[in-house]
Symmetry: C2
Subunit: 323 residues, 2 copies
Amino acid sequence: MAEVVAGIDIGGTNTVIGIVNKQGDILAESTIPTRCQSTFSVYVKNLAVEIEKLLEGLGHEHTLQGVGIGSPNGSYNLGAIVDAPNLEWKGILPLCNELTKHTGLPTVVTNDANAAAIGELLFGAGVGMKNFVVITLGTGLGSGIIVNGKLVVGHDGFAGEFGHIVAKANGRQCGCGKKGCLETYASATGLRRTAFKMIADSNQPSMLRNVTYDKLTSKMITEAAQNGDPLARAAFEYTGLILGTRLADLVAILNPEAIFFFGGLANAGEILIDPVRRYMEEYMFPVFKGKVRLLMSGLQNKNAAVLGAAALIWDELEKKKAN
Amino acid sequence: MAEVVAGIDIGGTNTVIGIVNKQGDILAESTIPTRCQSTFSVYVKNLAVEIEKLLEGLGHEHTLQGVGIGSPNGSYNLGAIVDAPNLEWKGILPLCNELTKHTGLPTVVTNDANAAAIGELLFGAGVGMKNFVVITLGTGLGSGIIVNGKLVVGHDGFAGEFGHIVAKANGRQCGCGKKGCLETYASATGLRRTAFKMIADSNQPSMLRNVTYDKLTSKMITEAAQNGDPLARAAFEYTGLILGTRLADLVAILNPEAIFFFGGLANAGEILIDPVRRYMEEYMFPVFKGKVRLLMSGLQNKNAAVLGAAALIWDELEKKKAN
């Protein structure tokens, strides 16, 4: 009987459930809708049923040890989802408690970026490292921080909101209600905003001038930059300036060994990383110059969310054993 | 036989040595010069001799368990002082190794702000807390970070350089070689620079207009502000804006329970803390609003440097026991 855990990735539309062993192999996987469930309790019950189904499919040769969950606004400390803007249910949702009632097993939740960080530590390119940061670059900018080989969750379970440090006083309007947050510049959405501002501010010719804001994607800007479009290149340069200087700040505070990039915009590769690295080094506190590696996530293009959630509960089970 | 440790505070001019018990009482204390020692090795030998003398003075009823040291540019990971600008000896000084040769006991070193943080954790107002930051406001700005009840030292042992995050792009020249570092605004020196800039920029009457830059102290600006001097008050308001916004960033990253202030400028009290708090809350990520306490260090006006150094080695000895 091999030991396994369930790793769950809750998205606004769908929830992905995977059965994962200690080596980080996903042995079985399925999806249930997150939307259109009658109540939150019914949704949680369906999660438990789905986990059981997956185990049955594996011929019951595996014993489930616990459940790890990555969710937007997941609070590790509360074991709950708190005011997630993209879910139908509002307020504090006691996810871990309710799921444990069905499974009888330890359950842990955290946000997506934290799950990505612990996934990187156990199954990704961060194996063997003790101090690093994972930056997820998608619609927004998330971060998960590993210090002394452990995830930093903070006093209320919400550490790692690096996307909401102020990059520019009185800058762009952010979804969080503040202005000038880092993620309004350094994310897929931020890159689009930068490109559109540059279209307005300059007369530079660009293949992006005949695309509407709603249709423009970070992938289109990336491809334009790779094809030498000067405006698209300038947009990446500006993104690198904003993100690079703030990463220099993050390094000054935490002195990590490496910073990993993950998510859709990270696929831009050196087009993005090169200016980030240049500006980070330019603004770096001397003692850290040339020492911090900027790397692609080892989980990029894998089912990182499920692996991260699984890593979270494996890590928790290890901690319990140690105590 | 009661167990004690030695806590050592290395300053540019003098070195203070204290014998400290587990409760944080300083049982004996003395000072030797840091300057004018023939070599670094002779200095280290004199440290060992002085520790022995202090123990003799206590009638040898105490057994020494280890030595903790706080030093400018002290690297916890290397057990060394690295390129300290205010010491006569340059390069990497293998302090722990050399002192252990004399005492045969475990020896740990870190920088002053880190020692202050671990001192706060064991003997100060941070007892019982697991996530907090200590900000030391003196000539510069230092920080020590506690996460999950442990000091954050980082990959190279130099975490906590919060004073060298960029507060203003292309801002004031910093001693580290960069421009616009937080400590060029938020420190005793930073406050002086701000006051002088305001004297130049405005026509506001102020009692500070008849003081030279070299004679101006943060204490004078504090007293002027307490007496209602509008320019001095404006200088604190600006300092609060710069420090408060950056503390909001720090909270977003680390989600601490409290931030402690320590050092000369911290004596300004509410004249400083009030604007810091207002701007921190204004720029705070919503989930953290109203949750983070700004407090005076519990070691303020005590021999914090010696207590911090002693706490460092007590903590280290505890960790060794646990493993």
